[in-house]
Subunit: 192 residues, 2 copies
């Protein structure tokens, strides 16, 4: 017998996420957030909570999107190797054409050492990324698309690490060719 919340919470989180993503946690003020979300701080504190809580929701929102993408790719009917190669090419495209680096990475370096909740979310996200790659690599090995001598666990970790570094490289050097060559080298190593 009362009023309902006026704003779309998912949309508001999306907007907040974009601000946190671009500026980081500490450089973002509550004013920045309420401006972007187009809601009053009282509504924000009533429905979501304080700055930390909002940030956690945003990181969760970010990792949820990644999770959906992985699930979608895993359900593809193409060969595992081609799904893997497509994924790597898309990953490179995002680095080169994206507005900003991966939020999970930025966040890991800014927050994960100090905030246990954020760290746990990012660790889970990293585990999912690992599982996604491990799954594809192993399937590709069973189909003979990747040399059976390779260790899928190692390669999965290895790609995750390398991919993080590509982001840093692109921040500093803005050199698309550099990234593409490294991606090509990684793919070549898989297939021989």
């Amino acid at each position: 017998m009362a009023r309902n919340v006026e704003f779309d919470e998912t949309l508001a989180i999306q907007k907040a996420m974009e601000v946190f993503w671009k500026q980081g946690y500490n450089a973002t003020s509550m004013r920045d957030l309420t401006d972007a979300m187009q809601i009053n701080s009282s509504s924000l504190y009533n429905t979501i909570g304080d700055k930390q809580e909002l940030f956690v929701r945003c990181v969760n929102h970010y990792t949820d999107i990644r999770k959906k993408d992985w699930d979608k790719r895993l359900s593809s009917k193409d060969s595992p190797f081609s799904v893997l190669v497509d994924y790597i090419h898309d990953a490179v495209d995002i680095i080169i054409n994206g507005q900003d680096s991966c939020m999970a990475i930025k966040c890991a370096f800014e927050m994960a050492t100090n905030d246990q909740r954020v760290k746990d979310i990012l660790k889970e996200d990293s585990d999912r990324s690992y599982q996604f790659l491990y799954n594809l690599i192993q399937s590709a090995m069973l189909k003979g698309e990747i040399d059976a001598d390779e260790d899928p666990a190692l390669l999965a970790d290895y790609f995750n690490s390398t991919w993080t570094g590509w982001h840093e490289s692109y921040i500093l050097h803005k050199d698309p060719v550099k990234i593409k060559r490294m991606a090509q080298y990684f793919i070549k190593q898989l297939s021989k």
Copy 2:
């Protein structure tokens, strides 16, 4: 015909660097800094400048230390390949035993997109790291320690990227074995 500065500037920068390194730029207040440096803010503003200027000095200090390490290693009389392998092992040890991730990396993700001066310093540091690796790899190739088919430019970029990712991995998973295995894999690829 007047007074001299009372505090040791190099030592003060060192102390400030440690605070920035641990907390990042935006999470660090001027009070945090003056407390650690053990000087009054008026002295700080008189001698060094504002927060941004201090940060730039700290990043420069950090990259200077790295530069000296690279120069020292390059002047070694050991074989280039063994210098390279030693360097990789030391890099792994720093990740596993260090208090915090590499400041240059943290800084690249927090600041480099917004602050041109910081970005330029980090880019130069990254170029030096590249040159260091390129130099060693090429020398090792000439001596037949590394397969002549490899591309030293690509391998140098590749190691830099991978190494950045190792930091992220260790922040999230705190798994020394993971890092060591990846390092071993990289070295193996070099030598075969």
